[in-house]
């Protein structure tokens, strides 16, 4: 089967600084794939390239066979790629329920509507999704008043609302306690599995990576260092060298 996402020779430079240097990358449908590497490796840049958020990306990114490398973010989203951000983004002055409702309305493509029925229906589904991500009790809270972990859950749910084929999660557990991390990632993996979603996530916690990912790609200084199963990656001498070198 052809890969869901296939990147070839993807390059992104900021002036003379090359953030991504000719990345080749394939993602199989239904796969849970972790992107790891030291800070500055280009992981978030790569995610942003796929999501259409960076101008001046060179090379090819094909999604379901179509070139998406130079589309606008909204167009990429409509084709079935949803993303969360490293620092979670949501509509801060709205309640969790309003955020989720907005996500469903945007997903419906009928944002210009004045229909109360559409709003009621979206709100109904939003309530269900809040329950799914464990936020039913916080439905009325403004996002600005939510904890970091709850914001990450909300953002994940909002992305799910669009029913994307591919979920890009940029450090979904950053800043969370170990317990929270495992809770969230179990939720993510379960939801992805149930709905047949493909998952590409950036993660620093190796325990989480080993537990969730089926494949791992290691990036260093804008290039792919190694790719393989978690077991292969854990045993890879080059990877060990980078990680020991990078963190000590």
């Amino acid at each position: 089967m052809s890969p869901l996402l296939s990147a070839r020779q993807v390059r992104k430079a900021y002036g003379s600084f090359v953030a991504l240097n000719n990345i080749d990358f394939d993602l199989a449908r239904g796969e849970r794939h972790a992107l790891i590497g030291p800070n500055g490796a280009g992981k978030s840049t790569f995610i942003a390239c796929i999501a259409g958020q960076l101008p001046g990306v060179e090379g090819s990114i094909r999604f379901k066979g179509d070139e998406v490398a130079r589309l606008l973010p909204a167009e990429v989203a409509k084709r079935g790629i949803g993303r969360t951000f490293q620092i979670s983004r949501a509509f801060l002055q709205m309640s969790a329920l309003e955020n989720m409702t907005a996500a469903f309305i945007i997903a419906s493509g009928r944002w210009a509507s004045l229909s109360r029925a559409l709003l009621a229906e979206a709100e109904d589904r939003a309530g269900g999704m809040l329950a799914t991500v464990g936020l039913a009790a916080r439905a009325g809270s403004r996002v600005a008043d939510l904890s970091l972990g709850d914001r990450k859950r909300l953002e994940f749910g909002m992305v799910l609302a669009g029913d994307p084929d591919l979920l890009l999660l940029d450090e979904p557990t950053a800043g969370m306690s170990i317990k929270e991390r495992h809770h969230l990632m179990e939720l993510v993996a379960t939801r992805a599995e149930e709905a047949g979603k493909t998952l590409l996530f950036v993660e620093h916690d190796i325990d989480v990576v080993l537990k969730i990912a089926q494949r791992v790609t290691v990036m260093v200084r804008g290039a792919v260092l190694a790719a393989g199963t978690p077991v292969e990656i854990a045993a890879n001498a080059q990877v060990q060298a980078v990680y020991l070198g990078g963190h000590h």
Partner: protein, 317 residues
């Protein structure tokens, strides 16, 4: 906390009803001078509410909103004076021209954000003002267009004020409907985090343009009424002075509140009306009041109302 049940509390309805009755009583019982003052206040309330829609919900600060007030006034005035349309029909051309102006200028302005957006709106308004001021053959230049209709459609002061009150109520009802709709939610979403909105599949500029056009058309309603009120249109209607007044009204009334624009217009016009009793220095008084509000009451009169228990903070934008 549901969006659909996010309607006015009984207490708010009571306050609103009392305000309307109070206004109408003042209009009917205190003479023509008061009626004229109230008519101007209510027209400015529509204008300020249109800017508030843009600022509080779309988080777009415009330094050129008077362009659409002016276009509204001239759209109506020119339709009567140059095209010879009957007044009733010409009324439509005010909001139409303002909305069209909003479409053209908005398409330019939404390409940028924040201060750059604001500076573009300023530039567009200055262009509008200059055209109205210089194009003598059509707009009459600095002498404006006068004498094309009896002021206030020939209605008595009190009857005209009642008419304006009705138009204000209709405009606010439409705005409330908009705010509590999928479109309203999309406008707020883009205003609060365009990156998130974009990543969910919303094209931010398109949403902002729709908000801009709607806001401009409402400003055009206010401009049309103002021209009918004066029986005249002048380039100043599109000038910086009106833009600044509307901005001050929104800040005084309360950003991020549905009622901010209206409350601000009431406070501003009443202050200006009664200021001569206190002082000959209106500008100084306004400056001090603005200072106090921005520092002590950054969310304006509307926040004070919420604090007094007039409904939940449910109308937060």
């Amino acid at each position: 906390m549901s969006l659909l049940s996010n309607q006015m509390s009984p207490a708010r309805w009571a306050v609103l009803l009392a305000a309307v009755v109070g206004l109408e009583l003042a209009n009917r019982l205190t003479g023509a001078g008061t009626s004229l003052m109230l008519a101007e206040m209510l027209i400015l309330a529509i204008f300020a509410a249109s800017l508030n829609l843009l600022m509080s919900y779309g988080h777009m600060v415009s330094f050129g909103h008077a362009a659409f007030f002016g276009l509204g006034a001239y759209g109506f005035t020119l339709a009567v004076s140059r095209a010879g349309l009957p007044v009733e029909l010409a009324l439509l051309f005010g909001p139409l021209l303002a909305g069209f102006g909003g479409l053209v200028f908005g398409a330019l302005c939404v390409r940028l954000t924040e201060i750059y957006f604001a500076m573009l709106t300023l530039a567009c308004a200055q262009i509008t003002y200059t055209v109205l001021f210089q194009w003598y053959d059509v707009t009459g230049g600095d002498t404006g267009i006068t004498g094309f209709m009896p002021a206030r459609f020939g209605l008595s002061e009190a009857n005209f004020t009642t008419l304006v009150l009705v138009v204000l109520a209709v405009c606010l009802a439409l705005m409330a409907r908009l705010v509590a709709s999928p479109l309203g939610l999309a406008i707020r979403a883009v205003g609060q985090d365009r990156w998130r909105a974009e990543a969910l599949g919303l094209a931010p500029r398109r949403v902002q343009l729709v908000a801009f056009v709607i806001s401009a058309a409402f400003a055009g309603v206010a401009g049309t009424l103002f021209a009918a009120f004066q029986g005249a249109a002048f380039p100043d209607y599109a000038g910086l002075g009106f833009t600044l007044e509307a901005l001050i009204m929104v800040v005084l009334g309360g950003l991020h509140s549905f009622w901010g624009g209206v409350l601000g217009a009431v406070l501003f016009t009443q202050l200006r009306h009664w200021a001569p009793v206190l002082t000959g220095h209106w500008g100084l008084l306004l400056g001090i009041v603005l200072l106090i509000f921005v520092i002590a009451l950054p969310h304006g009169v509307a926040a004070l109302g919420a604090r007094l228990g007039l409904g939940p903070k449910g109308d937060r934008a």
